[in-house]
């Protein structure tokens, strides 16, 4: 069954599903929900089938398929998956049905469901695109459903949050588009062929200065999305104001488009410039780890707390990516997946708490562990995974990132390691405020997780444990692709100021040597 077009199917199910849900929902909102669940369930089945068919210990792209699309413009419909994108596709396939099951936005849910499906399709497309323009389209396409999810179904300040999210990510994307175009034109100048294929553009000769500029343009786009300090300021507001399902998708999946983009495109296209920029990016990542953790410590709102916690976690991912070590990169990919699982669980649990008690505020919530022990237990496990307790999934990536970074960039690793302490501090303090202590009268009557809720969170909880105890299953598939990526970086020609055509250029960081 090697010829089975898994990737095309994985794209089509949510995209067509979105359309169908939209149409059916006009007449029968209840049927739309069933349809959406069916579509996402089918998507998950095919994603798992992809995992089964995926060859372990192979570093190259698998299930590659290329179709002519906009030939005159050099844009092709080129798909493929490797160990780095495989688990992000799976994550996307897993989170969306859980979002549909675990969150609700009231009666008029058709739009919500359709946007979620569209978002899923666009995200999968981004993860499996091997053509830069196709990637860009998919990457941009995620913005539309995200915007509407926030602005239509969010909390009080949703309009402000949605606008801010849109403007910041969109401005970032502008840099990306320009970067892609310049790179493609550069390639056309050298070879006479206009193409956006990743494999072809990879071999474009770039002066070190231009490479650094282009690398920065990509970094800004992905850095806003991830987010990397100091481009994160949209995220606390957006995660706070989005509906809980929106926060789950935004932090679990969309944020990974940023970190994935950096790993896939920055490192592949600009290996040497990435090395040049490493001190800068590593520093921002380490600052992100500490700054995110410290700022999280000062939050009173649980959703904002998780937003800042995500900033710190993404800092680890970026750190591992720019460590250029096998452990660091493998850890970064592992962490993308695990952070997705953990943060989705967090936002869903916080949503359930707010549904019952009407608040995200730690000043209002108190003593929950007595009345709702199961919810407290699930929250505890999620929290411990986020703190990085070995045996749970959060630890694997974090440890690999830190040990990998230590072998190549020691002092950044040492600084980031202290972030581990602060993470424990703000999460435990938050837990104590919300769950410990004496419950007030209103909290006493809270009901614990329903059977449906338990079943909804069970897959996330199971993965938190399973991927912590037996990560081999992921690592074996990720590592070969990481080695391929690293081989490209190692082979990157040392920067001599190559003069191509009339391009003269100075490096923005002055480190072209």
């Amino acid at each position: 069954m090697h010829t089975f077009p898994y990737l095309v199917v994985l794209l089509c199910i949510p995209l067509f599903g979105a359309g169908l849900v939209g149409l059916v929902g006009l007449r029968a909102p209840q049927a739309a929900r069933v349809l959406a669940l069916a579509a996402t369930a089918l998507e998950l089945v095919f994603a798992v089938a992809l995992l089964v068919a995926f060859k372990t210990h192979v570093g190259t792209f698998q299930f590659e398929s290329t179709h002519t699309w906009m030939a005159p413009l050099g844009i092709s419909f080129s798909l493929g998956v490797d160990g780095i994108s495989l688990f992000l596709v799976l994550l996307t396939a897993l989170i969306v049905p859980i979002v549909i099951l675990g969150t609700s936005v009231g009666e008029k849910a058709t739009g919500y469901l359709a946007w979620l499906l569209l978002l899923q399709g666009a995200s999968v497309a981004s993860f499996v695109s091997l053509d830069l323009m196709l990637f860009f389209f998919a990457f941009e396409l995620t913005l539309v459903p995200s915007y509407f999810l926030i602005v239509k179904y969010g909390h009080e300040r949703r309009a402000y949050a949605a606008t801010k999210f849109f403007v910041m990510t969109f401005l970032g994307s502008a840099f990306l588009l320009v970067g892609i175009l310049v790179l493609a034109f550069q390639h056309q100048n050298q070879t006479g062929v206009l193409t956006f294929s990743l494999a072809a553009l990879q071999h474009t000769t770039l002066s070190s200065g231009l490479a650094v500029w282009l690398s920065l343009a990509f970094l800004v786009a992905f850095g806003v999305k991830a987010p990397i300090f100091p481009l994160h300021t949209w995220s606390p507001t957006t995660y706070r104001e989005a509906p809980e399902g929106g926060s789950m998708v935004l932090s679990a999946i969309l944020a990974k488009l940023g970190t994935y983009g950096i790993l896939r495109f920055n490192l592949t296209l600009f290996p040497h410039a990435s090395k040049t920029l490493a001190p800068l990016v590593l520093t921002l990542a380490a600052i992100g780890v500490l700054y995110g953790a410290i700022t999280a410590s000062g939050q009173h709102d649980m959703k904002r707390l998780i937003a800042y916690s995500s900033l710190a976690q993404v800092g680890f991912i970026i750190l591992g990516t720019f460590s250029f070590s096998p452990q660091g990169l493998t850890g970064a990919v592992t962490m993308m997946v695990n952070h997705g699982i953990i943060t989705a669980a967090f936002f869903m649990l916080i949503g359930w708490i707010a549904q019952r008690r009407g608040s995200f505020d730690t000043a209002v919530l108190k003593g929950l562990q007595g009345p709702v022990p199961v919810l407290a237990g699930v929250f505890t496990v999620t929290m411990l995974a986020s703190i990085g307790l070995p045996g749970l999934n959060g630890f694997v990536g974090e440890f690999l990132v830190l040990i990998g970074t230590f072998t190549t960039h020691r002092w950044w690793a040492v600084v980031a390691t202290t972030g581990v302490v602060v993470a424990a501090m703000y999460l435990l303090w938050n837990y104590q405020q919300v769950f410990h202590g004496k419950a007030d009268a209103e909290t006493e009557t809270m009901h614990d997780l329903t059977t449906k809720e338990r079943l909804t969170i069970a897959p996330l909880l199971a993965l938190i444990v399973l991927l912590g105890v037996y990560p081999k299953f992921m690592l074996d598939r990720i590592e070969p692709s990481v080695h391929r990526e690293l081989a490209g970086i190692t082979a990157a020609a040392p920067a001599t100021a190559i003069q191509t055509h009339h391009v003269t250029f100075t490096s923005p960081v002055g480190g072209a040597r």
Partner: protein
């Protein structure tokens, strides 16, 4: 038996997991019995493995046998697998950990009677034992770290067991965070060792590093140990941890978990012994902690806090022994201490149980008459810890002090003085609790309820006391001096090989040293007798400086706690929303009144906004090409 090693961990793990699964149906006392049986089976398995190990010498020069369960984290040169290693060191730990755990589980069935969360308590306790055994049996640093964190989490749960009490919730959090701080040391030690040796597996470590790197590694390990084993500068979480139920204090915060730091240093003997500088620092930290904690213990009024500081002080001795290179002495004291300190804590639990939860020694006294079993067993615990011959503590502390004398007479003098303090504060604690007049029969000055007839504990609580008392009396037999070829030293020395430093003193010197030990024990006992017989208060002997732990908490609060809180609030309320986000909003406003235009966007005019996008892109593209061109 070697393929059954995993069962040592599997039994308590399964016990915990099955209790979680059935927590709605299983109630008191069945949950307690299930948990006790799980740990008991683990003890029996350990015994079986131990006997097999004694019988065969197939494991190479260090007598180690490894069971590979499955691959765990293998990336590049990093190979950290689920490998359990049984060698004389780990099996010694396993034996006393599972043995004492079984007794304390049994005790808890009686002690926790009537608690609302009875089942949950035993879930935590079982998971704790499983984690502790992972820590001990882990064949590489990462697996040890897994157990290390696991015991930390269980400790957090158990300390904040009465979570509705703010003090208990805070104490649990404090314990976790102090341990987390120490974890930075553990992580950095792993990084340094992996970077230099390309392995985290104990049996492959060689310590071929520059002396500076070695010192850094040893200091990082010591920092890790200082957190878990409550040593300076991270010792002050342990007294707060007494908020947990007393069996927890006995099991986790006296006998097992808190000795994990010492175990780690013993396990890493190859690295530790290669760094003389590191060893001196270890000695310094050990002795300083032993002394400081002993001074604090003299002034405590809460029986559990008194015992907690005594634990800190005793672990200081173990760390000191590690620093001298006599790892066997450290292990000997660890085992003996596990016996008598578990006994003392369980005894204090029996007292607290009898007095309806009273922990202030000012409200005790004269309990000898009311609690004969508790009194009789506590008596031996007391004699053992202060080092009266021939009880366990005399031999164990003696072998530590002998090793210290070999390293430096000055250190030895400090250790001996601390032993005097130990004898004094433990005797004070003993007299205040069991002798003199009963101070609990009338209502207290602060409205404490009177207890007319303290009741002796049920058999489930008395039996562990008796067994532990027996161990405290005869524990010295484990490693008698002059009996070579038998006992801990002969058993453990293959593990430590050339790292092990054993003092080779003349007979006369050994007798003199032992005599000095016995003398200070009797001296301290007598001083306490003179001062505290029939008195329950002597403010001049319990100054606030000592009672308040040298103001250590206040110091940390001033230099770290408050500034950190201020910083967090400052970034959360000023830097992030106003400075960074302000810059973003400000830029947006500056770029041609973008903000006003955006307001139209969410009126639904998608088309106009699409035009804007394309226009904006063109501007950026053109300007970029201009710059490039």
């Amino acid at each position: 038996m070697n393929h059954l090693i995993f069962l040592i961990i599997a039994f308590p793990l399964l016990g915990g997991v099955s209790l979680i699964a059935m927590s709605r149906r299983v109630r008191e006392p069945l949950a307690g019995w299930v948990a006790t049986a799980a740990v008991g089976l683990s003890f029996l398995t350990t015994l079986g493995v131990f006997i097999t190990l004694l019988g065969s010498h197939s494991g190479g020069p260090s007598h180690a046998v490894t069971q590979h369960l499955f691959d765990w984290i293998n990336v590049g040169a990093l190979h950290a697998n689920m490998d359990l290693t049984v060698d004389p060191l780990s099996i010694t730990m396993c034996l006393f950990v599972t043995g004492i755990s079984t007794l304390i589980h049994l005790y808890s069935i009686g002690y926790m009677h009537g608690e609302k969360d009875f089942t949950k308590f035993f879930i935590y306790l079982n998971l704790f034992v499983a984690s502790m055994l992972i820590l001990v049996l882990g064949g590489n640093m990462l697996l040890t770290f897994t157990g290390w964190e696991g015991v930390g989490v269980c400790s957090y749960w158990l300390v904040s067991y009465y979570f509705q009490k703010d003090s208990a919730a805070s104490a649990g959090k404090k314990a976790f965070i102090y341990n987390r701080v120490a974890d930075v040391g553990f992580l950095l030690a792993m990084f340094v060792i992996f970077f230099n040796e390309h392995t985290l597996t104990y049996s492959k470590m060689t310590a071929h590093m520059s002396s500076l790197t070695l010192t850094m590694a040893v200091l990082a390990l010591l920092f890790a140990a200082a957190g878990k084993s409550a040593q300076i500068p991270l010792f002050n979480w342990l007294p707060d941890a007494m908020e947990g139920p007393t069996p927890v204090s006995a099991l986790i915060h006296a006998a097992t978990m808190v000795t994990a730091g010492v175990y780690l240093l013993c396990r890493m003997h190859v690295v530790v012994s290669a760094s003389p500088t590191g060893q001196w620092v270890i000695c310094g930290i050990g002795l300083a902690t032993a002394f400081v904690a002993a001074t604090i213990a003299t002034s405590q009024s809460d029986i559990k806090k008194g015992l907690a500081f005594s634990t800190v002080s005793q672990i200081g001795y173990m760390v000191l022994a590690v620093g001298t290179g006599d790892y066997v002495a450290a292990m000997f004291l660890m085992v003996a201490h596990a016996f008598f300190k578990a006994l003392l804590f369980l005894g204090s639990g029996s007292v607290i149980h009898a007095l309806d939860g009273e922990q202030e020694m000012g409200r005790m006294g004269g309990l000898r008459k009311y609690l004969p079993w508790t009194y009789g067993t506590f008596l031996f615990g007391w004699l053992a810890i202060i080092g009266v011959p021939p009880f366990a503590g005399f031999w164990a502390k003696g072998s530590v002090l002998d090793a210290v004398f070999g390293k430096s007479p000055w250190l030895w003098a400090g250790g001996l003085f601390t032993a005097l303090l130990t004898a004094y504060y433990m005797s004070r604690l003993f007299y205040l609790t069991f002798t003199g007049s009963a101070r609990f029969t009338e209502q207290g000055p602060n409205g404490e309820a009177a207890v007319a007839h303290p009741h002796e504990s049920p058999w489930t609580m008395r039996l562990p006391l008796v067994i532990l008392a027996f161990c405290s009396i005869f524990g010295g037999l484990l490693n008698l001096p002059w009996v070579h070829g038998f006992g801990l030293e002969a058993f453990l020395s293959p593990v430590f090989g050339s790292s092990l430093v054993v003092p080779a003193d003349s007979m006369t010197k050994q007798f003199l040293l032992a005599g000095a030990d016995a003398l200070v024990a009797v001296l301290g006992l007598t001083i306490a007798w003179v001062l505290w017989r029939g008195r329950s208060e002597r403010p001049e002997l319990t100054p606030a400086f000592l009672a308040k732990v040298w103001y250590w908490d206040n110091f940390y609060d001033t230099i770290i706690g408050r500034p950190a809180t201020a910083l967090a609030n400052f970034t959360a309320e000023v830097v992030d929303p106003l400075v960074l986000d302000g810059a973003v909003d400000g830029t947006a406003a500056a770029v041609g009144g973008l903000a006003t235009r955006l307001r139209k966007v969410h009126n639904g005019q998608i088309r106009s906004y699409g035009v804007g996008i394309i226009f904006g892109l063109l501007v950026i593209l053109v300007s970029f090409l201009v710059v490039v061109g």
